[in-house]
Symmetry: C2
């Protein structure tokens, strides 16, 4: 017996027209180790927006109930050739209740339970997920558990990455985000020093009120001096950047080099011999990344993605991370939302423009059955 | 008894005046495992130019015999704070004859021998070097052996790096340089596929005449298509870039991603899961490096420097590399020079502007006693 529910689809045609609409999707009864989840809550993460809207012109789009039709500019249209004409489901993660399961005992054991999952179509009323990837939420609500995967595992992944690479300190950009606040809590628990870079005084105040020791405001005139001082105190030569575009990663590498070079006993034409590394884990700014010749050649800029990281970290580490997330879901790993929207409200102009702006601390939660 | 000879010095004062001049330098009799080398030939490598001139305005400089006085623009003046006021010797490598040695048997054994060495003051008539770092040249002349270290070990280092990281193919930018021609020979000997990127048809022809199979001309209208085709045939997802500034590394990462994405069975919002890596080993272009959001987040751009590489590779590998260089000094690892200049000629306007332009295949050799 098939189960049918509403689902958000995003379709980009070769001519540059992006259609995002509420449609219907049917699911056969789950088999094997699969479960069918009635989705109750799903966060709109920056990583979802890349598929949902990419760089489409939402300001001048056509809005009708349950539907947005917008134009996709170049080079984003050509850059997404692989999806032209494909009707894509959207929504990495969410939480809901298991309403049916395949014959596998691991799947059967989840019937009736609330779980967090990563189905890829979380902006819909139903989803299928492998039992092994479901995180049973116990008495945690779907709203509280909706963001149990992407942000918590990403923030924990940064700290695990730093430890694996021998670092005792991290620099984080756009540090007042939900993820940034989470990282701030994890780092305090793990005695990992954290240099938080924010753009507004209110965000600096927020992080400080949450126990952050090193907060640097990039809007301040003495930003570079603040940053150098924080690097000097923490020895932070590893950073994580969700912005990507612009000159902030460059500024951090510059500051790292200035601190390291200041500690050298003699000038080297190649710069300091201090390794400096920035991981880019997002592209909030779709403009080009600018790297100036200001820090020698002892540096690395690299993409950081959760899935390859988890594969590299291995099952034992992943299980340890998941257990920690579940145990501390309502404290260390809690997320906050600016608004709850159902699938139709999600496609209204005011909402779409608002959550697409990805303003710090203004995340939306989708509640598909409300 | 001290030995005194002519020496090139480069001094940058805090006000932005760069003085490059022929002075004198004295050397005490060598002790321990050190040897004193009468320097007979030294190449002017791009890595030397960074210290010698950096971005100084040589067009409008003041030229007097044995002396250049030029102005250093920002941000290069501030970026080199560590050397302000320091009188720096210049010249990474060269070759000459050992005329005195410390009491250590390894040093004594070199007396009277011709050696290649990396003293850091090779643009001078004498230099001191540790015996362990000297490469005895046997019947190879100082002119033929002058470039025995930097280019050969760098080109071999690329191939070693590729092998260590599990690659069977390499992309090389500015591929018709002395180093590029060397790399072309090494890759043919080692069955490492090499995609050569050049900017001129004559350079493409040169490399092809030397057996290169994959040569791509970035000045051609269909450059990107040529590059994709070469990547498709070779599976080259590792590149080495001596240019640094501009958009060429970005173009290579784009082409890598386009080939990899074309082989995927379904579209991924994160791009392909193919690792893509570019090493920047020089900064022939001092402009900013531009990285566009065109290839997901599965990529790395990293500096590559010879000394940290050799430290990581370990002594056994280094000895193997050095032996290979010495055995094939006049074939695989041969360098060509456009002109020979003595220390005074090196500071004449026409020469300085010419070798500072770092044109492909137009390297200068300094012969300090001529």
């Amino acid at each position: 017996m098939a189960t049918t529910g509403k689902q958000i689809f995003s379709t980009l045609d070769a001519g540059g027209t992006l259609t995002v609409e509420v449609g219907e999707k049917s699911f056969d009864a789950p088999t094997g180790a699969q479960v069918l989840v009635k989705m109750e809550a799903a966060p709109i993460n920056p990583s979802d927006l890349a598929l949902l809207f990419s760089a489409a012109d939402l300001e001048n789009a056509e809005y009708t109930p349950g539907k947005i039709v917008a134009q996709m500019p170049e080079p984003f249209l050509s850059g997404a050739k692989g999806r032209h004409g494909q009707k894509s489901v959207v929504g990495n993660e969410g939480a809901g209740t298991v309403i049916a399961a395949g014959e596998d005992p691991a799947a059967q054991a989840l019937i009736g339970q609330r779980v967090a999952c990563v189905p890829g179509n979380a902006f819909g009323q139903y989803a299928v997920a492998p039992a092994a990837m479901c995180l049973p939420l116990g008495d945690i609500s779907s709203v509280d558990g909706a963001s149990a995967f992407v942000n918590p595992m990403t923030a924990l992944g940064f700290v695990e990455t730093a430890k694996m690479e021998g670092h005792n300190a991290i620099i984080h950009l756009a540090a007042a985000s939900n993820l940034g606040q989470m990282l701030n809590r994890i780092c305090q628990e793990d005695d990992m020093k954290l240099v938080n870079i924010v753009r507004k005084q209110e965000h600096a105040d927020l992080l400080k009120s949450q126990g952050a020791k090193y907060v640097v405001n990039s809007s301040d005139d003495d930003f570079m001096a603040q940053l150098r001082s924080a690097i000097d105190e923490t020895d932070a030569y590893l950073g994580f950047d969700p912005i990507g575009g612009g000159k902030m990663t460059d500024a951090v590498l510059k500051a790292m080099e200035q601190v390291a070079a200041g500690k050298m006993t003699e000038f080297s034409r190649y710069g300091s011999d201090q390794d400096k590394k920035m991981y880019m884990y997002g592209r909030l700014d779709l403009g080009p990344t600018i790297l100036t010749p200001s820090y020698g050649l002892q540096w690395t800029v690299s993409g950081w993605l959760l899935t390859p990281f988890l594969a590299k970290a291995g099952m034992e580490t992943v299980v340890r991370m998941r257990t920690r997330v579940l145990t501390n879901m309502k404290t260390t790993f809690a997320s906050n939302y600016k608004a709850h929207v159902n699938l139709e409200q999600m496609l209204e102009k005011e909402a779409a423009l608002d959550y697409r702006a990805m303003k710090t601390g203004e995340k939306y939660l989708v509640t598909p059955h409300s």
